[in-house]
Subunit: 344 residues, 2 copies
DNA sequence: AGAGTCATGTCAATCGGTTGCCAACGAGAG
DNA sequence: CTCTCGTTGGCAACCGATTGACATGACTCT
């Protein structure tokens, strides 16, 4: 507004300040660099007065520890990598926040990376990150077990929403939410439903389907799988044809995005939701309470999942093997997209 | 599903493989480490046959360049830091994707960081990142000019949706979108509108308000500012009281989140949108086309903004001063939340 | 006074890769 | 046959911080 881009201006590029090093501090404080290092990191090792003086000088010079230089001899960077199958997927918001909270409180730094839904990108990103972080958190990984085990050979690794034998993984138990959801559908009178599955490479989609299948059988509800599909609005929209062909009265979608897509397509095709078709999603993303009708869904406590996963990873780093594993559960959230099926 | 957590399993923690170094390669290839370094990075400097042999050995040993070690002497990490005021704000999705695309194609690595809407967190994060990246991209920064200039003293820095004299900044011109929006409201018959402003620290909110004010005056439309408010659903909801008190027929909100919040509150209070109240947002986030009615909004081409900003930053790194600055424009998107005001 | 303890600070090696400078070598020119 | 020059590869210093080993000096105890 009041800021015409100014050519010969302050802070412009060019002459950059080289950051202060412990050598600079040592020189102006009149001690040796190793003393500076110890004064800053080993409380008590150095005389209190000397330490005070060193800290003051450091402050004055605006000293910041160079993470690269520090990481070289110690092999520790104080950094944790979090690779998400898609950072812009609303599902992971709470998870990211949960992870951030714990990481900050433990004094580590978070490096977020995006796999952009591509196993290749994910693999490459993981490999690149591997050497510059202390540990890796893989969320909703699309990699196969072998590749994940390979990565885990180099650095501690924790999985979220994915399980690989021998590796720590945090997966909320889908059962409670699914049970409540099926009880809900059954009590409304639905006898025949469909599951809109996600990508074939999604381990989580498989888990959800298997659990639904079990529980539907147990309740004598008919169930069919429709898919695999892409886990997006568009994927949900595309499935409407097959949903109608299947003549089911209710659909459980792999995630809310697909559920919303299906809802949009249904609206466009004059299929009333929930009267003609009940829809249930998974994840309770931002957006599933914005639609009309709002989406009934099964949510995971992803903020707690994020926290737990990071705690687990940090324990791994510190070789603290007190894996006091909390179990986390999914939860059924009834909203407006489910109702008794219209009598035929 | 078929994966009972197994205790004595492969890839378990403990014995980790130390990564291969250029010294390992040098030893098995029978050359000196410096030759390896040159073979890998200075094409042509080393005899083609020797280079071939070294590359093969490197491949075989699964060698990965240690980014820390490499960064120490060169001062370059091949990494770019992107600090977003809130990673989970849907506004920035396209921007992040745009940035990712360019960064990947230029062979750099993206480090995403979240300021969590807090200037303190932002400042701290920026400082921590500063030493481990080659350049910094600040998106929607909440820091004051002085602090930003301070950060820019150490590393190249580019701003998005923010302008500080002397620093490169990418800000799409709000004028085209706002003009169209006001023309639209005027043609519908609105004579008196309100702007729901964002946080007082938001530079962008100021720009939007000033532009609206100018253009409203020019069209002889009455306009008042309501705010500052928090830029969330909740912030939008809370504003309903003041909106009604102001007796305006249309509201332009600082962003879509607030617009949606206002819409929800209006629904709950039996105020019909758009008949009783027209609402326009900014940003066109995921979600603003999910509501009923869908939200009319003014969008920025954020994917292009992201691309442009990264290009600019990389040019800065390479001292390429061919700042072929593209100008980017906002765009008006008419949806369902605007209509002629109900006759009183 | 001499031996033993402890607190304090320094030396120098190390992490892995980069790079300026030099040495060895072979080829072509005169 | 010597001289010059370009090619190829090695030596060693350096980036900034960490850390084991050690020197110094003060202090205690007998």
């Amino acid at each position: 507004m009041t800021d015409p881009p100014d050519a010969r201006s302050p802070g412009a590029s060019g002459n950059r300040k080289p950051p202060a090093t412990i050598y600079d501090i040592a020189r102006t404080a009149g001690v040796s660099p190793s003393t500076v290092s110890r004064a800053l990191n080993k409380p008590g090792r150095i005389n209190a007065r000397t330490e005070r003086r060193i800290r003051d000088v450091a402050e004055e010079l605006g000293y910041r520890r160079n993470p690269m230089a520090g990481a070289l001899p110690t092999g520790r960077t104080g950094t944790i990598g979090l690779i998400v199958s898609d950072v812009t997927n609303p599902v992971y918001f709470d998870l990211i926040h949960g992870a951030e909270r714990v990481i900050a409180s433990e004094g580590h730094t978070l490096v977020l990376a995006d796999a952009q839904e591509s196993p290749d990108t994910e693999s490459e990103t993981a490999e690149r990150l591997l050497l510059s972080v202390d540990g890796l958190l893989l969320v909703g990984s699309r990699l196969d077990d072998a590749r994940i085990l390979e990565l885990a050979e180099h650095k501690p690794l924790v999985l979220v929403n994915r399980s690989v034998p021998g590796l720590p993984g945090i997966v909320p138990d889908p059962l409670p939410g699914i049970r409540k959801a099926l009880d809900h559908l059954a009590s409304l009178g639905h006898r025949s439903i469909a599951f809109l599955s996600g990508p074939a490479t999604s381990w989580m989609s498989g888990v959800r389907w298997e659990t639904l299948l079990d529980e539907a059988l147990r309740r004598d509800i008919g169930i069919v799988e429709i898919g695999p599909g892409i886990p997006t609005l568009e994927g949900g929209r595309q499935s409407l044809r097959r949903v109608r062909a299947a003549r089911v009265t209710a659909v459980v979608a792999y995630n809310d995005l697909m559920a919303i897509g299906l809802l949009q397509a249904a609206k466009a095709a004059d299929v009333d939701v929930p009267e003609d078709l009940s829809i249930i999603g998974f994840d309770d993303i931002f957006g599933s309470s914005l639609t009309t009708p709002t989406i009934t869904t099964i949510r995971s406590p992803l903020d707690r999942v994020g926290e737990t996963a990071i705690r687990r990873l940090i324990a791994e780093l510190d070789e603290d093997d007190h894996s006091a594993d909390v179990t986390l559960f999914t939860e059924f959230i009834e909203r407006e997209s489910t109702a008794p099926p219209r009598a035929r």
